[in-house]
Symmetry: C2
Subunit: 277 residues, 2 copies
Amino acid sequence: MNKISKTAPIGVFDSGLGGLTVVAALDALLPHEDIIYLGDTARVPYGDKSPETVGRFGLENALALLERDVKMIVVACNTVSATALPFIQSELEARGFRVPILGVVDAGIEAIIPRNPRKICVLGTRATIASGAYERGIRAKLPDTETISIPCPILAPIVEDGLANHPIATSAIKHYLTPILDSPPDTLLLGCTHYPLLIDAIRTVLPPSITIVDSSIAIAEKIRETLEKLDLAKIIDTSSGRREFLSTDSPRLFAERAKVFLDGKLSPMKVEEAPCR
Amino acid sequence: MNKISKTAPIGVFDSGLGGLTVVAALDALLPHEDIIYLGDTARVPYGDKSPETVGRFGLENALALLERDVKMIVVACNTVSATALPFIQSELEARGFRVPILGVVDAGIEAIIPRNPRKICVLGTRATIASGAYERGIRAKLPDTETISIPCPILAPIVEDGLANHPIATSAIKHYLTPILDSPPDTLLLGCTHYPLLIDAIRTVLPPSITIVDSSIAIAEKIRETLEKLDLAKIIDTSSGRREFLSTDSPRLFAERAKVFLDGKLSPMKVEEAPCR
């Protein structure tokens, strides 16, 4: 790959469907850009898996998008961003690819810096929290800020089962947030693309003064900035960009379950199968 | 493969760790038999995936066990048993393998026949329930019995997070069982290897008269019968059989998380990595 084309699509991948919240945010911010989304629904979720396995799957997803000549790789999956971004970057460089790669973890951290928080709580999958990526990133940029990280393994399955507004969601959130209720943080960082759908339930548990940062919106902003900085932004026109969806498991199941994350946006949706090997 | 050896190990596979409940039941019933267990922890869970993907993964797991010369394949995963057992059987036959294959679904159904239930409720993953395998199997053997099937996607994640005895488990069970509380069944069939760990929570929601059938115990009985019938049982001796564990993701994570399912049994555990491709 020599010159990257401005008119090429933005490639976004996630372990499954959660990254569609990033596509929805991008669709609102950069409607004229083309987007190809890959969901590794055959092997989802990644959140309980080892960094080695997550890195291998993430690299395969990135390569599948590069076969479709994307101009940028967006890692919409917090688990991959937290555990394997440097690995994927170096593997792609070794193969001669020079497209920019952005991950939701860095975007989330950058979004909170201007707010100058005193105390941050990060929620994520087991693998994301175990990686320490959020804590390290926050310490590097905001050395005086206290960070507490809480793994919340059953929140993503609750969202996927359409129970985000059910009392089960509230009781799971209460369970996980118990350690911070006595002395709550000023900022809550949602370190999983499923969690924005739980904001209403979270608001019933935490004081209203808390700022909740949604990394899917943060990364859409960062994608725009990066495309402009690298002179890779498509010339703005009034036509809507192409939206393509790839699924490693059944396209029919993908389209059915995508509704939870898209709230009527981007439908009807055409999904193509892209086997994971 | 010509003659199957009596002294060969029994091969058991599952999408992840839930099938360890079958190993524990086998360990109690046939302590002298050797057992090799494969957990496809890199791609777990299967319960929300398509029959095609579940079939492909299941076949790969069976072939990995056959490479280790097992004398029988036990499909400890309800999702694979319900959606893909005939596919795996015919693929193995086409490759010249003649080892017997047993699945938890048939074993669970056979275990309830002598009880002659009037009304059965089956709980399982989305894929297990969508397959209709339990309903078809029950209708064939017990045509006058009414069957209700309920998909319970967040119960397995709750068990894996160690929350089986937490109020979250009870409220999730109440949520799923609401449709049957007014007119409860006489028999509850646990169609997922994670659910035996929820029996205490289920008992707080359902009337005490209900019979709860645990398919991991049912299949251990069926394995013994089949080995005897086919003259494949190892000669009983006083030594304990070998227990080998294979994991497609990190062996360390496997050993850590296996504790939830084994309750102190079979530990310490040696786990070997067996990449899923």
